[in-house]
Every structure is written in structure tokens, then in C-alpha cells.
Amino acid sequence: MSMILDKVDYKYSPGTAYEKHALREVSLKIEDGQFIGVIGHTGSGKSTLIQHLNGLMKATSGAIYYNGEDIYDKDYDLRKLRQKVGLVFQYPEHQLFETTIFKDVCFGPKNKGLSQKDAELKAFEALRAVGLPENLWYQSPFELSGGQKRRVAIAGVLAMKPEMLILDEPTAGLDPKGRDEILDQVAKMHREWKMTVILVSHSMEDVANYVERLIVMNRGKVMLDGTPREVFAHYKELEEVGLSAPQVTYLMHELRRKGLSVDVNATTLEEAKDSILKTFGAK
């Protein structure tokens, strides 16, 4: 079970004066159950890429296979794909519309054709998974705080029980606590539901803390692909394309230049702390 992208190419408005080459022969294999981060500056093609993964956009050329099936085959049911690959857009709370939170989360599964009871079961499970307190479930979604609204919106996608969950900047505009809560919940669902998760983010610190694989997009191409440690080792190249490494990685490089034998590939606070303590303990 996996998703394979084979030389996926996408042009906006092809053949016109406004033609823009957004994806250039992107080939990727997304293994089942991975927790993947996608970074890239604005306009690098990351949003275009993720919209290909659930068939919202169709490649100008190239192929995408999900579980061995060609999603562009004329007999392939894209509706099914969209139920399996859940996409949470930026600022998803703008898409809430029902009179109560619970009804809003039921909308997806009901639309999929489940009975009222089954839909409610799914909604129940999804709201539990995002950790929204039960006393709020029958309130209007519009009375919640920003972080809570966003959780409801994510629950709406989770209620579809997707095999793959794609989140486009799920923490933009949230305060630090709200950010940690959402990312912790996503990490937990990844573990417990064995779901493939793709996290698009602008925060290098967040991706370093959570993901196991990091894909860097630049000018419509995959520029780097590896573990956060491997990717952030190329911090100079990342800077050239308007990105950066986590703050601690820079710190470790500066300490190394001063002659300390610290681990320059540390990408999280924990790793940096352990390495510094070890270096100074050994002195």
C-alpha cells in the first residue's frame, strides 16, 4: 500500500501568456504509515503538489498510482480516492457551516452514504481523536476559539476515516499552545490509527520535532528528500531558496566552529541539549 508519483508535471493555464510551470516531473513514493513533512517557500509548488494527491488537480503529464491503481484511469473512481486521502486546507475553520459542531462533523460521513447512526459513530470517534471536550459538541462551531475551530474542521476530515491525511499549514495563526496541541494530536493519530500523514509547514522547528521524512520543494521540483537530520545538514542550500534550518542547528554549527565537538546535525531542542551536556560533561 503506497502512493507513487511518476514524473508528475503541472502547468497552470498551459498554452497562454499566463502559463506557469508549477510542478516539474516530480517523482515520489509515499510509503504507508509515514509521517512526512513538506517545506518550501511560497510559490514552490507544495500546495499544487498536495492537491494532486487526492485528485483535486490533474497532472498535465505523468501518472499517480494509489495502491497500485492508476488514479487517472477512466474507470478509476476519484470519489473513492478523496475519501481515502483526506485534505485539510489552510484555515479550514472557514469551511465550518453547520449549526452544531457534532452535525458539522457528521456531514462528511453522511455524504459518503453512511446511515445516520454510523455517521454519528464516526463523528464521535473523530471528535474524541482531536481531543475536543465533550461539553462543547452541541454548541455552534462559531463560538469556539481559533484552535478549537480548527480541531473541529480536522475532525470533519477524520470522520471520513482517511488512510492518508494531508494538512496544509494546520497551525498558521495559532498561539504556541494551540500549535503544540494540534501537532501532538496529529502525531497521536498517526501512531494509533496507523495513518499516513503529510504535514505542509513553514516552521522548521515543527517539522524537526514531528516528522520522520522531510521533502523540500523548490521551483516545482523536489530539492531534498530525507530524514530531518539529513535535510537540515544542507542548511546553506536551504537558505539559498529562502528556507532555513531550526535555530538549534545553527547554534550547533557555531559551537563547532568555536572548537566544541558537539553534534552539528541536531535538529531538536532535546538533541541539542543532550549533545551539549555530553560535550561539557566529558570535558
Binding site: G173, L174, P176, L255, K273, I276
Partner: protein, 281 residues
């Protein structure tokens, strides 16, 4: 004299039902005292719903106090005849640049404000030049705003405020929707306006890294001011900040944890440079 002086400022959002009866009262500002001197760069921190945006909206009288007093540039905000003076002198920049840009050419957008208050055309052109230059966007004056990046749009929005020649700019989470590059562009522009033009800056944010550049920081929680001081003073209290659902820059946090593990690292480290120096002594 303080440019901004808030004394026991209270603001209540009152919700009414269809008959006009009060349904609920939410106290968004609860006896807030905040002072800002002319030319100061002050940051207001707080989590979502702490009251910081409500405070910002009082500064150019988009909201008026329920109780207490607020003076902006020596003028009482509750006196209606002061309204236009205050709005001219305290410009606002909001979160979403797309909601603030109205014209189809950058220079027209920047010139809209001064034109609206009847400034002569020649003077408008001068102001547009000057404001676009001050945010590093002069070369885009004839471009269409919708082709710009988020950071560039936000700088055009700031230029639009600058063209009114305000004494103070209030920025309400101006970088929340931008990528790291855009965020840096906007903050650099803001810092330059503060240092070179002496514009008073009120920056509302929850990105801790942005606060490091401010002269002073206020921390708000549940409508109250709960901490106040220089960034260094505020960030040396890591555990208190966490209690208010905020966190500190990653480097400050690392220094704090190293200190707790028994290393001789001073309190209140803000930058990488400082930590490198502390560790390499």
C-alpha cells in the same frame, strides 16, 4: 508625555438576543494599564483570545472603552471630535494583506489614504515615493498588488499607512499569514521605520522571535496585563510564560534547560550569539 496611556481600561463585548436583552457579557479587557512613550517599540504578547487585538482596536478608536480612560497622543479617545486626529496619527495594519489592499496599482493603493484627506496631488506623489522607499518597495510602484508575495503585500499595506504620516503604527499580527522570508521582510521594514523615522510601534504578535527586537514587552492573559518588561526580563521567566500558554524562543528555552541541568548559563539569553558566548567562555 506618553504617546499612549491606558488607565484601568475595560472593554466588554455584550451579546444581545433578538429582543435586545443582554445574553452574555465577555470582559475582553480587564483594567489594563499600558504606557507607550513616543518613539518606543512595544510588543504585546498573548495567546488567542487574551485581549490583545481588542486593545489594538482601541488605539485608533475602532472600539471605545466600556470603562477607564485611554489617551492617544494626549487626546481622549472617548471625545468624538478627536476621532479623526487619532486615526490619522495611529495607523493600523492587520493580519491579512489581501483584505487591506484596494487599488489595482501599488502606488494608487498607497496614495489612497492621503487623497482621501484632501492632500494636494504633488504632495501625495512625494508621500507615496517616500513611504514605498521606507519599506523597500519603490521598484514595485507600478505593479499590480495581486502579483506580489504575502510579505510584499504586507509592506505595501504598511506603506499605505506611512503615507498618512502617522506618529504611531499598530500592527495586529502582521506576519501570521506569511512564510519565514515574508515575516523577516516585514519585521525589518518595521524596525527601520522605528529606528530611522522614529515612528512609535505597537506590535501585536504571538511569535516570540519577533518580540526580541522590541524595547518593551507586555504580556496579556484573560484581558489583563500579567507581565511587563524588556524582552530579556520577560523571557527569563520561562515557567511563568508557559503558564500563560506562551513559549519562548527556542534558543532561550535551550539555555533555560541547560541551566536547569546544572550548567553555568546566565538567565534571559535571547540570541544564538549570546548562547555561543556563554558556552565558550
Amino acid at each position: 508625555m506618553n504617546f499612549i496611556e491606558a488607565r484601568k481600561l475595560v472593554h466588554e463585548y455584550i451579546r444581545r438576543d433578538e429582543e435586545g436583552n443582554v445574553e452574555s457579557i465577555q470582559t475582553a479587557l480587564d483594567h489594563v494599564d499600558i504606557d507607550v512613550k513616543p518613539g518606543e517599540f512595544v510588543a504585546v504578547l498573548g495567546h488567542n483570545g487574551s485581549g490583545k487585538s481588542t486593545f489594538a482596536k482601541h488605539l485608533n478608536v475602532l472600539l471605545v472603552p466600556t470603562e477607564g480612560t485611554l489617551w492617544v497622543d494626549g487626546k481622549d479617545v472617548t471625545e468624538e471630535e478627536n476621532l479623526w486626529d487619532i486615526r490619522k496619527n495611529a495607523g493600523m495594519v492587520f493580519q491579512n494583506p489581501d483584505n487591506q489592499i484596494i487599488a489595482s496599482v501599488v502606488e494608487e493603493d498607497v496614495g489612497f489614504g492621503p487623497e482621501n484627506i484632501g492632500i494636494p496631488t504633488e504632495e501625495i506623489l512625494k508621500r507615496v515615493d517616500k513611504s514605498l522607499k521606507s519599506v523597500g518597495m519603490l521598484e514595485y510602484r507600478e505593479h499590480s498588488p495581486n502579483k506580489l508575495s504575502g510579505g510584499q503585500k504586507q509592506r505595501v499595506a504598511i506603506a499605505g499607512v506611512m503615507a498618512m504620516e502617522p506618529k504611531c503604527i499598530v500592527l495586529d499580527e502582521p506576519t501570521a499569514m506569511l512564510d519565514p522570508n515574508g515575516r523577516k521582510e516585514v519585521l525589518d521594514a518595521v524596525e527601520r521605520l522605528n529606528q530611522e523615522k522614529g515612528v512609535t510601534i505597537i506590535l501585536i504578535t504571538h511569535y516570540m522571535e519577533e518580540v526580541v527586537r522590541a524595547d518593551r514587552v507586555y504580556v496579556m492573559d484573560q484581558g489583563k496585563v500579567v507581565m511587563e518588561g524588556t524582552p530579556r526580563e520577560v523571557f527569563s521567566q520561562v515557567d511563568t510564560l508557559k503558564k500563560y500558554r506562551l513559549d519562548v524562543p527556542q534558543i532561550t528555552l535551550l539555555a533555560h534547560e541547560l541551566r536547569q541541568a546544572g550548567m553555568a548559563v546566565p538567565k534571559g539569553i535571547l540570541t544564538r550569539q549570546e548562547l555561543v558566548e556563554a558556552l565558550c567562555q
